[in-house]
C-alpha cells in the first residue's frame, strides 16, 4: 500500500511543481543574505547587501510610493467593485452577463496599452501630469476587474432576502447595508483588498507610464537594470517577496482560525437559512 507507484508519482509531481514555483525566489533570498551574491553556494552569510539597500534613499522613497499606490488603488477598486457587484446581483436582472462582461473586459487589455491610454487620457482630459494620483487611477482600472471577480464569488452565496428582512423591520437601505449586509460580506471585501493591494504594489507596466519621475519599487528596479543587475536588486526582490508573503500569511492565518472564511459561508450563516 505504502509504495504504490501512483502515489509516488503524485508526490513527485507535487514536489516538482513547488520547486518550479519557488526555486528562483529561494535563490534570490539566499543570494541577498550572502557575501558571494552572484553564486551563493555554499552561502557565506552577510547583511552587507541589505544594508546597502536600506542606505539608498531612492529605494526608500520608492517603497513609500509603492505602498501609497497599493493602498489607495486597493481601497478605491474594492469599494467600486463592491458597489458594482451588489448592483449586478440585485438590480441588473437579465442583462447581468452583459454588464459583467463589460466590467471584466479591462483584464484582457495588455497592461502596457492600458498604461499608455491612461497616460494620454489623464493628461488630455483630466489635466493630470505624471504623478501618483494618475498612477492610482490607472491601476484601479484593472484592479477593479479583479476585485469584482473576487467579491462576486463571495456574494454569490449571500442571501439577499436578509436585506428584505432588515428593511421590513424598519432599516433604511443604508442602515440595512451597514447593519446586515456589510457584517456578512466583509471577508470577500478584505480578500479583494489584499489581492488588489498586491497587484498595484507590484505593478510596473501601468505605473511606469503614469508616474513621470516618481519612483516605485518596480520602476526603480527596472531603472537600475541599465547599470547591470546590482546586488541591491537581489535584496529588493527579497524584500518585496517578504512583504507579499507576509500579507498572504495574514490571510492564511485568518482563514485557519476561521476568523475569516474565504469562499465558504460560516457555519452559523448556513444553518440559519
Amino acid at each position: 500500500m505504502r509504495f504504490r507507484p501512483g502515489k509516488i508519482a503524485l508526490l513527485a509531481t507535487v514536489v516538482a511543481s513547488y520547486l518550479f514555483l519557488y526555486l528562483p525566489i529561494l535563490h534570490i533570498g539566499l543570494a541577498s543574505f550572502s557575501r558571494n551574491s552572484s553564486f551563493p553556494y555554499p552561502p557565506k552569510w552577510s547583511l552587507d547587501i541589505m544594508t546597502r539597500l536600506f542606505s539608498n534613499s531612492l529605494y526608500q522613497t520608492a517603497l513609500g510610493n509603492s505602498l501609497i499606490i497599493g493602498f489607495f488603488s486597493a481601497v478605491l477598486s474594492t469599494a467600486l467593485a463592491g458597489a458594482a457587484t451588489i448592483g449586478l446581483m440585485r438590480h441588473a436582472g437579465r442583462r447581468a452577463p452583459l454588464f459583467l462582461a463589460l466590467f471584466v473586459a479591462p483584464l484582457f487589455v495588455a497592461e502596457v496599452l492600458l498604461g499608455i491610454s491612461s497616460l494620454i487620457f489623464n493628461g488630455l482630459f483630466l489635466g493630470l501630469q505624471g504623478n501618483l494620483v494618475s498612477a492610482i487611477l490607472a491601476n484601479v482600472v484593472h484592479c477593479f476587474s479583479y476585485a469584482l471577480l473576487i467579491i462576486a464569488t463571495q456574494l454569490y452565496r449571500y442571501d439577499w432576502r436578509l436585506d428584505d428582512a432588515a428593511m421590513v423591520f424598519g432599516a433604511s437601505p443604508a442602515r440595512t447595508f451597514f447593519e446586515v449586509t456589510l457584517p456578512l460580506i466583509w471577508p470577500g471585501l478584505l480578500g479583494a483588498f489584499i489581492v488588489t493591494f498586491i497587484m498595484a504594489f507590484n505593478n510596473l507596466e501601468i505605473s511606469f507610464y503614469l508616474l513621470g519621475a516618481t519612483p516605485t519599487l518596480p520602476s526603480a528596479a527596472w531603472g537600475a537594470l541599465r547599470y547591470g543587475v546590482k546586488p541591491e536588486l537581489y535584496a529588493l526582490a527579497t524584500c518585496v517577496n517578504l512583504v507579499v508573503f507576509l500579507v498572504l500569511l495574514v490571510m492564511f492565518v485568518l482563514m485557519m482560525t476561521r476568523v475569516v472564511t474565504f469562499g465558504h459561508r460560516p457555519e452559523r450563516e448556513r444553518s440559519a437559512v
Partner: protein
C-alpha cells in the same frame, strides 16, 4: 372603514400578471389567510403589502394611509419568513431588539419589550445564542418574536410553518392565533396548506392564477365552495362527472354508474356537463344489501384499503367508475378490507359546478 385595503392591485412580470386586479378589505382584528397552490401569486401579494414589491397598478392602504409608494421601512409592518431569515451574525437578543432599535426606542424600553417577547414565546435563556445554535422550532419562535416585538400595524406571515414538522406546526398554529387575538392586530398569513388556513383564520382568500377566487369566512370556504377549484383544493373530495337532468325542484346528475341528486341550484342548465363534489367525511357507509336496486346518492363499492388516522378511519374503495374515499369516525361500525359496502350521502352535501373547460 377597513384597516387594510387592496384596491385593484396588479403586478406584472414580463408578460405575466402574477397578481391580477386584487381587491381586499381587511379589518383590524382579523386573521386572514391567503390560500393557494405554489405560483398562484399569494407571496407576491404579501410582498406588495410589505412594500418589497411595487404594484404595477392599484393602491395599498394601511390604516387609512396610501402606502403604495412608501418603502418597506416606513410602513410599520413586520414579516415572518418561511426561511426565518434571522440575522446570522446577531444573537437572539439582538435579533429581537433589531426592530426596536430601528424605531429608535429608549434602551430601557427595548429591554422591557424584548423581555416581554422572550416571555410570551418561551425563549428565556436563549438570548445569547446565535441562530445556528437553535433548533428549527426555536428559530421559528425568534422569527415570530421579531415580528411581534415592534407592535406592527400588520404582521405578514409567509408560510412560516412550512419548514417545521407536523406536531410542532400544530402547536405553533394555536400559539400564533393566540398572539394575534392578544395583540389585536391583523395577521395576513400566506400558505398552501389548507389545514393551517382552516385552523387559524377568520377569513380565507383562495388565490389562483393571481386572482382571488373567493374571500369568505373559513366555514363558507369549506362548506360552500364558490368554485370547482375551491371544492377541489379545500378539503378532500370525491369528484363525479355527469349530465344534468332537471327533475322538479331538484337536480339529478346522471353519470356513468352513479346517480346524484341535489337541491335546486342556480346557473345549472338542463343537459349540461357538470362535476359534482362530495367531501370524504360526508360519505357514509353501510353494508351492501344483496338484491337492492340502484338508488340516488348511493354507490356500491368494495373496500380496498383502510387507513387509520387516529380518531378517523379512511376507507379507500373501488367502484365501477373509479375510486371512492370515505373518512369516518372510529366509533362507527368498521369495515374490513374486501367488504362490500354502499357509500351514500345527503342531497345537501353535494357541490355542483359546470364542468367543461373548467378544471385544469
Amino acid at each position: 372603514m377597513a384597516y387594510i385595503t387592496l384596491d385593484g392591485v396588479s403586478k406584472q412580470y414580463g408578460s405575466v400578471w402574477a397578481v391580477d386586479r386584487v381587491n381586499m378589505a381587511i379589518d383590524k382584528q382579523e386573521f386572514v389567510s391567503l390560500l393557494g397552490p405554489s405560483g398562484s401569486g399569494k407571496t407576491t401579494l404579501l410582498r406588495i403589502i410589505a412594500g418589497l414589491e411595487t404594484p404595477t397598478q392599484g393602491r395599498v392602504l394601511i390604516d387609512g394611509e396610501d402606502v403604495t409608494h412608501l418603502p418597506p421601512h416606513r410602513r410599520g409592518v413586520a414579516m415572518v419568513f418561511q426561511e426565518f431569515l434571522l440575522f446570522p451574525h446577531r444573537t437572539v437578543y439582538e435579533n429581537l431588539a433589531f426592530p426596536l432599535r430601528m424605531l429608535k426606542l429608549q434602551k430601557g424600553e427595548i429591554e422591557a419589550r424584548v423581555d416581554w417577547v422572550l416571555g410570551i414565546l418561551a425563549l428565556r435563556g436563549l438570548e445569547k445564542r446565535y441562530p445556528n445554535q437553535l433548533s428549527g422550532g426555536q428559530q421559528q419562535r425568534v422569527a415570530l418574536g421579531r415580528g411581534l416585538v415592534g407592535r406592527p400595524k400588520v404582521l405578514l406571515l409567509d408560510e412560516p410553518l412550512a419548514n417545521l414538522d407536523r406536531e410542532l406546526r400544530q402547536e405553533m398554529e394555536v400559539e400564533i392565533r393566540r398572539h394575534q387575538t392578544a395583540l389585536g392586530i391583523p395577521f395576513i398569513y400566506v400558505t398552501h396548506n389548507q389545514e393551517e388556513a382552516l385552523s387559524m383564520s377568520d377569513r380565507i382568500a383562495v388565490v389562483r392564477g393571481g386572482r382571488i377566487e373567493d374571500f369568505a369566512s373559513r366555514t363558507d370556504v369549506y362548506d360552500r365552495p364558490k368554485t370547482a377549484f375551491i371544492a377541489q383544493f379545500v378539503g378532500r373530495s370525491n369528484r363525479f362527472e355527469g349530465i344534468v337532468a332537471l327533475a322538479g325542484e331538484g337536480i339529478a346528475v346522471r353519470g356513468e354508474g352513479v346517480l346524484i341528486e341535489t337541491g335546486p341550484r342556480e346557473g345549472i342548465a338542463d343537459a349540461a356537463q357538470v362535476a359534482a363534489y362530495v367531501k370524504n367525511e360526508k360519505v357514509r357507509l353501510r353494508p351492501a344489501e344483496p338484491g337492492a336496486g340502484a338508488a340516488a346518492n348511493a354507490l356500491p363499492a368494495t373496500v380496498k384499503h383502510v387507513i387509520l388516522r387516529g380518531a378517523y378511519a379512511e376507507y379507500v374503495m373501488s367502484w365501477a367508475g373509479g375510486e371512492l374515499v370515505a373518512s369516518r369516525p372510529r366509533r362507527e361500525a368498521e369495515f374490513k378490507e374486501g367488504a362490500e359496502v354502499v357509500g351514500f350521502w345527503e342531497k345537501g352535501d353535494v357541490d355542483l359546478f359546470p364542468a367543461p373547460g373548467e378544471m385544469p
